[in-house]
Symmetry: C3
Subunit: 280 residues, 3 copies
């Protein structure tokens, strides 16, 4: 069976960057891929990661990688250190997902979930463009590497093995007496405030106060109950829910919680127990 | 002939959402489609529909569906009621276009033009992701349904038939003596103000005043003549024309009419007749 | 070999517009292409060119065309003159790249590099949609022409030959004594300020002052040294470097130079020599 007939069944190349939608930067990367791997299917995850926000990019990638076909090649570029000694890398995971990115933690949260199998430095000149700029490695190093890997080039041909990759750590919420204190770690385009409080952490906290009713506070805002869906609150009203990240999230029905609470990444969120006030 | 060789000739999946360009949400939907229907060609219509604006999404879909190949599967998600009892639906039309969307009117203007053939509720669990969140049905219900339909699954396998779907109605312009009073129903990214006044309504109005000259007013602005193209006005000057929607549209040459007139969806537009002032 | 099996190897259609990401306009163009040339691979370069900025579009196209496969069909629409007598054109170049666009200079900088081979006016009605609006030639004229050319239609079938196409000229920097005076010609989405000063012009200027140290000034800002990469400056500090355009560029590490210097297209940039202060 020829490549022409099988290529449609191969996993795609999925791109995530902070290059935005104004310039030709993403276009140039796609041109490089189309030149080296004309049959590769290229899917945009997003190019709207806030500029230089490695953490936001790492969270977005962690939240979507598992919905792609096994073997998908993720090309991720949020790269404030371009032109410095930070390494360009490629990673294979136990789950089958592959990643090409700068080694600044951008892929680390996804790789942690997928299971690191092997990582290499992208050093071999033959898998780069002949001329490498000091400001646009997405075009000159990462896109060519992704295209060559998609065509079937071996990871080890790209450069020397790395024992570890840079890790990004997201702080865990802390228990302080009757309060569980977390943080906003991601603000989405609707203005929803995603925290670092997962279902398990909340359940552990809740189990210390049997029968207690929980409420969520952000800054000096009124306490919010945890509901099942955005639609469970009246229009314009704030609410807390477990959203698609499987993390506690503050939202305002049909509006922006970031605007409503003047909140951003880093804003503290507190879950408190009201003993004596039973749920229901 | 095998699927591998024919798939390129199949109609695409075309996606329209209000998910924006900052997050991974659209990426996750594309990952789901690529997993279920790896050969499907996926085209982005837009993901920039103003957040929760079902009407803007419905108008955008109505304005573009007929330019796609027959059989195109439109996957549309503007879904302020996610997590509430509003139904997820799939629709087949007489013109061949198919739609997957929340049943909130989003596809109703397009379906009205294409002719409703049959509609079902997306209820069968086997065509959803195994875990369905309460906040992201685009990923968990709509994208899988679209991918399964694209692969050839029958509409009736998805769930029970519906007799009707939710309809969205756009108000018609009203004749008030010598005035035809309409409304801005859509503001595009250039700031052009699209009204609900079609060529037929204008012609009917005009025929009541033979020989009269028409002019268009928005708020307290000076009366505007109806010209053939944006380029028929000087730079920076406002004008009225029939744009690509085939609706009367107020624009400012090389600038934004929304900014110029401080106008938005809902702003009234008046066509008046000046008897005695003959055209030409 | 059938078309179905070879199409994957064909060069793509690459689209660049100022239509933005809010409306269905780009979607309608893709629908037209998918109808006429269902097998064409369509890549988005960007749709975020600032509205009506022919110069910004021309520079973006110049900066990316050469990274696409030979034979790529560039469909470019930034068209303030839509509906006026400006011509719609198609161009073949010596380098193989093909362009479909309004004849307003938009493709001229790329065509200059690729080498004009032949150009025609898109006049033949059979390669347009049956109904042509006066406001949306991207959908009605340019997209159909691109799709037909991609399918193999001859350029000369589209309309009469043109001897020349409209050219856009970017001013060259000027030497004024000990100063080389340039201009910001492009501001990218990160706020980087790209000037019209190339490496050759800088080298010629520098060679007139052997041993001198150069510094770059924008407005009344402090003099900046020319460094190799964004990462060579401390966070938040301004710098000058040769970026991916191969043009002198003012940036602020991890921030926006456009905001920092309140600069925009047209802002003057000066390179000065400090005699007596030797480099290094």
């Amino acid at each position: 069976m020829t490549r022409a007939r099988t290529s449609g069944r191969r996993a795609p190349i999925a791109i995530l960057t902070d290059f935005g939608y104004r310039d030709h930067y993403v276009g140039a990367m796609k041109g490089v891929i189309a030149t080296i791997a004309p049959q590769a299917r290229v899917l945009d995850i997003t190019h709207g990661i806030p500029a230089q926000s490695v953490t936001a990019g790492a969270i977005a990638l962690r939240e979507c990688w598992r919905y792609f076909p096994a073997g998908t090649l993720f090309l991720a570029v949020v790269d404030p250190g371009v032109g410095t000694p930070r390494l360009p890398i490629a990673v294979e995971t136990l789950a089958g997902a592959r990643f090409v990115a700068p080694d600044n933690g951008l892929v680390s949260l996804a790789v942690e979930q997928a299971g690191l199998k092997r990582a290499v430095e992208l050093r071999a000149p033959r898998y780069r463009l002949s001329k490498v700029s000091s400001t646009f490695h997405g075009r000159d190093i990462f896109a060519p590497a992704a295209a060559h890997l998609w065509r079937g080039e071996r990871l080890d041909a790209m450069g020397p093995r790395l024992k570890t990759i840079e890790r990004l750590s997201i702080a865990e919420p802390l228990v302080r007496g009757r309060r569980l204190v977390g943080t906003v770690i991601y603000v989405d385009g609707f203005g929803n405030l995603v925290t670092n409080i997962g279902r398990a952490a909340l359940a552990r906290f809740e189990s210390s106060f049997p029968g207690a009713r929980l409420s969520v506070r952000i800054g000096r805002g009124a306490p919010l109950r945890i509901v099942n869906a955005y639609g469970d609150a009246p229009r314009g009203a704030p609410l807390a829910t477990f959203g698609s990240f499987e993390l506690l999230e503050i939202a305002v029905r049909d509006s922006s919680a970031a605007g409503f609470f003047k909140a951003a990444e880093g804003t503290p969120i507190t879950v408190t127990v009201n003993l004596g006030l039973r749920n229901g």
